[in-house]
Amino acid sequence: MRRCFIVLLVVCFWGLSSAFAADLVVYSGAGLMKPMEELRTNFESKHGVTVDIHYGSSGELFGMLKMGQECDILVPGSERYTYDALHNGWIQESSIQKMVKHVPVIAVPKGNPGQIEGLQDFTRNGLKLAMGDPNSPAIGRVGRKIFKKAGIWETVKPNIDVYAPTVNQLLVYVAMEQVDGALIWGDLVTWTEAKGKSGSRFHCRTGQYHQDDSDRLDHVCQGQFLGRKIQCLYQFRVRSGDLDPVGF
């Protein structure tokens, strides 16, 4: 018994000490979890180092930095946060690399019970919608901008049942059919957890919203399928240059 206790203590201390031994600390937007985990696995096996990734909403990551926490790499959910970090003097301009472009999409539960066929449908009475908190995750900020540009923000607001602090929470609410629709990042729709549970109908862009049909979306997926693995799996678009799938 006594021997067991001592062995347990040693194992605990060993476990704790190895858990703290990350060589590289990354702060990443929660919506990027899937590709970041794939990058982490590839990077760790190639370079033999450990990578500790902290996920949160972009706003939360900002809060951590503001509190004096440090990271080696910051991967926020939108470009705006990168430049805010630069403005605050937390990152060096020469180190900024544009990796991918996030595409906002309308996500609806399987079967589209709310019969949402476009942005204008978000204004229909009786719909239950979820939205990212405009002050926290990047999708919240972008979503509000999209609705404002479409001139329907004030009409959509009464239909919003919940403002979620992270984009992942929006995906949970859509996949679990708790809401009729939400604006989320396109890559999230293809996450394994959401497969068969939700289907993205359209995609739209800030500033030049246009309604696409499903064929068009399929075409986009197909096109991305010809690209690198990360992009095709998660529907990210390469922003500039090639992205090394095993390098940050």
Binding site: G59, E60, G63, D133, S136, Y163
Partner: protein
């Protein structure tokens, strides 16, 4: 001249002081780092006050509901042998081991677009993304703790006193009310205070079931989390301080009351 040093005792006391010291340091850092002018201003912030009001009334309601259920369930588990007792005990205890987020997801699935959820919504008790949902989330998070405390309390009360009461003509209910409950008062206070504190601090369950929408379902822990997300650290820290003060006041009152009982 000198008493021999009891090394075992020394290690235990040193460990107690060490861990307590770290806790005091962690809690104290909140108050040391704070800019008190900002804290004073934040204490009047309407979002913080709304969040405090919401936290206090939901935690009080949930704690009351928890106690109303924990009293009879604890008694049943302590006094009666019935088929499925082990199962009831295990299931009721389960949320203690659950991460709050898992419990939140379970409740969301149960009270969402299911017949139960639809029926509750039809009778005016929608639990998803609502203040009532905050109460439900807190209730299910705190209930197991209260049941455990009440069961232990009843376990320590000599059942022979209840037999005597029954033999002198009291019914089971009268015996519970006049004999068991007065003897269980210190456990009752402990369970009430722990439930209230647990309800006040519930985070993950509320975040998932009630949504954590600013100005609608943001209890103090959610308010703290949201303000970290907004980069408004000063307000987040003030929310934390208010939480600490309220929790400390609850524990202090408990200690005082317990001493009097």
């Amino acid at each position: 001249m000198f008493r021999p040093v009891n090394l075992f005792r020394l290690v235990l006391v040193a460990l107690s002081f060490g861990v307590t010291g770290i806790l005091v340091l962690a809690i104290g850092s909140f108050f040391v780092v704070a800019d008190w002018t900002e804290v004073g201003r934040n204490l009047l912030d309407p979002t913080l006050l709304a969040s405090l009001r919401l936290s206090l009334w939901t935690a009080a309601t949930s704690a009351l509901l928890v106690m109303l259920c924990a009293l009879p369930i604890g008694l049943a588990l302590s006094r009666y042998a019935f088929r499925g007792r082990g199962l009831v005990k295990a299931v009721v205890d389960l949320p203690v081991a659950f991460p709050e987020l898992v419990l939140g997801l379970c409740l969301l699935l149960c009270f969402g677009k299911t017949p139960v959820g639809k029926w509750l919504a039809a009778v005016g008790l929608p639990l998803v993304f609502t203040k009532q949902g905050v109460v439900a989330a807190q209730f299910f998070t705190a209930l197991p703790y209260a049941i455990r405390i009440m069961k232990s309390t009843y376990d320590f009360i000599d059942p022979r006193l209840e037999f005597v009461s029954r033999s002198l003509g009291y019914s089971s209910l009268q015996t519970f009310w006049n004999v068991t409950l007065p003897m269980a008062k210190s456990g009752l206070v402990a369970a009430g205070v722990i439930s209230f504190a647990r309800c006040l601090g519930t985070f993950g369950t509320v975040l998932i079931l009630a949504g954590g929408s600013a100005g609608k379902t943001d209890t103090l822990p959610i308010h703290l989390y949201l303000n970290i997300s907004y980069g408004n650290l000063s307000l987040a820290m003030t929310s934390g301080m208010v939480l600490i003060v309220v929790a400390f006041a609850a524990i202090f009152l408990f200690e005082k009351t317990e001493a009097r009982l």
